[in-house]
Symmetry: D2
Subunit: 360 residues, 4 copies
Amino acid sequence: MSATFGNKIKVTLFGQSHAQAIGAIVDGVPAGIFIDEERLSAFMDRRRAKDELATKRQEADKVLIKSGVVNSVTCGAPLCLMIENKDTRSQDYSNVAMVPRPSHSDFAAFVKYGGNNDIRGGGQFSGRLTAAMCAAGFICLEILRARGIEIVSHVSRIGAVSDEKLNQLKADDAVNKKLLASSFPVISEVAKDKMREEVLRAKSEGDSVGGEIECAVYNLPAGLGSDFFGSLESLIASAVFSVPAVKGIEFGAGFEFAQMWGSVANDSFILDENAQVVTDSNNCGGILGGISSGLPLIFKSAFKPTPSIAKAQRSVDLKDNKETELIIKGRHDPCIVPRACAVIEAVTAIALVNADGFVI
Amino acid sequence: MSATFGNKIKVTLFGQSHAQAIGAIVDGVPAGIFIDEERLSAFMDRRRAKDELATKRQEADKVLIKSGVVNSVTCGAPLCLMIENKDTRSQDYSNVAMVPRPSHSDFAAFVKYGGNNDIRGGGQFSGRLTAAMCAAGFICLEILRARGIEIVSHVSRIGAVSDEKLNQLKADDAVNKKLLASSFPVISEVAKDKMREEVLRAKSEGDSVGGEIECAVYNLPAGLGSDFFGSLESLIASAVFSVPAVKGIEFGAGFEFAQMWGSVANDSFILDENAQVVTDSNNCGGILGGISSGLPLIFKSAFKPTPSIAKAQRSVDLKDNKETELIIKGRHDPCIVPRACAVIEAVTAIALVNADGFVI
Amino acid sequence: MSATFGNKIKVTLFGQSHAQAIGAIVDGVPAGIFIDEERLSAFMDRRRAKDELATKRQEADKVLIKSGVVNSVTCGAPLCLMIENKDTRSQDYSNVAMVPRPSHSDFAAFVKYGGNNDIRGGGQFSGRLTAAMCAAGFICLEILRARGIEIVSHVSRIGAVSDEKLNQLKADDAVNKKLLASSFPVISEVAKDKMREEVLRAKSEGDSVGGEIECAVYNLPAGLGSDFFGSLESLIASAVFSVPAVKGIEFGAGFEFAQMWGSVANDSFILDENAQVVTDSNNCGGILGGISSGLPLIFKSAFKPTPSIAKAQRSVDLKDNKETELIIKGRHDPCIVPRACAVIEAVTAIALVNADGFVI
Amino acid sequence: MSATFGNKIKVTLFGQSHAQAIGAIVDGVPAGIFIDEERLSAFMDRRRAKDELATKRQEADKVLIKSGVVNSVTCGAPLCLMIENKDTRSQDYSNVAMVPRPSHSDFAAFVKYGGNNDIRGGGQFSGRLTAAMCAAGFICLEILRARGIEIVSHVSRIGAVSDEKLNQLKADDAVNKKLLASSFPVISEVAKDKMREEVLRAKSEGDSVGGEIECAVYNLPAGLGSDFFGSLESLIASAVFSVPAVKGIEFGAGFEFAQMWGSVANDSFILDENAQVVTDSNNCGGILGGISSGLPLIFKSAFKPTPSIAKAQRSVDLKDNKETELIIKGRHDPCIVPRACAVIEAVTAIALVNADGFVI
């Protein structure tokens, strides 16, 4: 536990990969908001597995709105967003029940839950749960969108291939539009082709590959967030690390700061053409003292390669405490990074609507 | 706001750099724990500014225990840990009131608080608040220590200079002992000398320099933490990003994962000499599925250079909305990274005692 | 909002009276607990409308366990407990949309939600939601039962008719067994008959009647709860007042204390036949300083009469801001108190598993 | 534990009766609010022991504002409000350490804290802690007052003597003004004299007496609070039961509802002289469906008699597990109800600023 995030718009997740359903309760959504099911469906589609780059498990990911909405408009009651699991093949997991998959949650979950954890499809640790995050995040994205705040992300790296950076100083509408329409969002088409090759190469070898996602929030007003434990970095990191496979996050220049001197790192304040206070660089990633500065909020997150690979791996049989070789069956993504872009946007939205100073 | 962290041992911070006092309330500490004030004082001392590498502001950082302890033993009531501010020179800040320091909290705080924020010494955004984090963290560190859990950190980088890595697979007692006794903890003495040079060079130029801290938790039992929003990464990141100047965090291989393939990245399960299940590498940093695996929990955090530098900088005068040049007075650290090691250990302890499955 | 209660076992409610479904997410339930669906069904049945004393709306209240349970055993993931709404007649509410029912939530909800609240069947304010409370509470009751803790309640008053008191000093197994098997639990059969008459009389006049429920928790160990805001009274009251129609709660002697002197009110400590420390009376209702004393925890809650009555009432038409007469259609309970006993037991269990010191 | 209340303006209490200090951290107070120390002092004074009706322990209760306020104006950082304990006589408690006082927290605290609880003056369970509640509550009262919301209370009963009721339909400014200026607020002077006699009679016999406080919130806008667990009754009850000695609370007609029929209990909606929707009675105490209705919010709370009385009482010596007679030394109030009025107002304010829909 803790399936619940936020203290203004509270999101509570539920479900396991092969349970009857997964979903989210979204509590605190103001009454009177129109829920556009077509837009919701389009957003869910960006995360869905569709092609050769992804798992063969095919789920429609239709979001059933069980409560909180009357005639397409929120009524103030919590929204129950439910997605049924249909294409499950639980038998694939018979051999992993007692032989933990390397770098997967199996072993830690086995210890924590005394062997009662749901091993089928990764149980509650499955990337499948990110569909529920997307459903809940969509509601938050819509609330932000109504205020002109736009969250956009792209695959900034897969293996050895990296993409260009998002605009660090202001929204580039054409780029954003393109990225938000894609289920494999990359700025440079050349980079995208190379990334695709890298994924297919890993796949053909029964392997997987990691990557990075860069995410930006444009038009976020200055003054959101807080000092102490309520910093925007704390809030966003807390949400982003709930996404399976994320192992790092950095805001603005992030780890590059470690090698920089203050005179180079500092973002000078200047006046823009409208006499508004802005900065001439954005190494701070739009956050000063834990509070939004008015510049684009920018962060990168690092994803480890999918731990479930087809290659034989060493592991231990927990039943008789012997080392063994493990061959993983099941259907897995060779690279989950493209599908994770929508998820990162979703959890960022969930975090931001709960930022100090954001009035619901 | 949010000055409060945790749901088992709740830590609430208060104070500003030049307020009468700073401090922390620590609620949920079991009754009957001996509080060793000498050990507390020694821990506080690791964070204190002492030499030429640090600010000239000299504070004794004596922790006054105002409540919760009777005859050196906790009584079950919340501990009020208070540190008085004594060596304040508020007049140094007269010129920054309306001219925000680049990359400092000033501008964002000005917007958030409508100009009522406490500008003196950085107010509640000051690194001074980390003394309160240390006082609260000490209590949590003692709770962990009583269970054999050890948290240790070192300066893994300052500018261009990097240190060796901590042992990723098991505690190296000699190294840990040395680091925990130091207020500038570095494994390699050679690296330490070079780091010192780098800091002094920055200082002599009226500049500052960033760095990294690597932190390890040894002997953490498997099974702590949670799926969903309660992952250890979420919990620790949320605490660590509350430390001023932290702009990045990565667990285990972190951002290196992005360039790795699964077959290389995965940590194989093996049996150690005691027939315990361990892994032969620790790229996952001791966390699987958000839950501790029993291996050392390892993460790195990135610090930006102190934004307050002596060099002239560009900024904007908010009173008449004109660009201007800013010369910052006041006493500042050319590099806060060495002093931040104790802080990182403290907030990590605060996070861990609140991990799911940690029974208080 | 706040659909979520608790910080150890978190219960999140969702649904409206005429939504597709109502339900609860129960997060933090330990893995490995057997969920006996027959017992669950029997518990739900105690709250169900069944006879002439209750509404004619007939719902099976079958609890669908959508997640968190594998082969009847909890797996550590949150439980999604869902109950579908079937016997809805939304057209009954056409005339109350703009004419608020006296003493019902309509008017306050109209203001809060700007007219977007779900008026059908009372929306999220409906007593129907207590079915979801019962489903979630059942899980908590089972956790308590496994530790020998028993919660029992009875209708202590309906209108002018009152029942005997529960045993204030120790469990009376025969009485408890009888009460827990009944959907109209009353100790005295004579009182029960008179209560039934009172309800039928109110019903025949198109009216409704209020009542009281006395609830006891037997075998609760001493030492649970807390000082400050974590008192057992705070915790239980907070849960009990979430039940629609509850307008008062008192622990032990409650409001009678106001007329007592200390020498009479105080419960003297004595040794029982097993040399255990007990008290010779239980005016404090088993709670001292917010903490359980080891004596039975006893409280009473007061229910207002169902506001939906068949008699014509005065109200205001909000559309044209004119006073008007309102005739309420729909199917309503003349007295909800008997059905509320299971609900009070459920929310008390939800509160207690979240008490300070209760180790999950 | 739980020393913290609220999720918008968080109040964290600390201290014990004979600790160096007691106090509160108030987090989330907007920047820019003028803190009038004279008004604060006057409010604290209403709770202070002053005359023959109260304990002889004399404390100045001067509130030291250690942080969060610069030049009498809040700066956005948490306020640390500290009150030093000065007139302590810890030796008085030597004999109660192992002989729990009947109906006092001693026994339950002994079990909970394993004998490490602070027995001096009742430790953290002492009524003295209500001074910290008042200091924190004052800040919240000022926030409410700035919006025209007024909280007023009076002693509605002591023993056999009861006062008139507060106006249930609208504020009576003359009455309110008188009550808010008094440290023994009673509407009827005749009742007040009789109450005083009752207290003095109890005192002269070495005894104590209980009572009731009626509290009203005038000018509270409709639409605050929530369905589910966020009802105003839940929120206020949770805060009020944190006050030592409170054992019951009822809203509006409260326990009288149990004997009423719906047609009598229901508050009809009418239009007032300004064509505003009001009700012609206020049995619901200004709360419908957990949400404020716009009518005065009214509740009563019941106080048990001070358990510390001078008369000899039976108890058990926990050291040798033998029944014994206990004579309590120390200085105690024969009736704490008059002093508790300011406390009830304070915690009600703390609750209301955290109500759903209250925009800070």
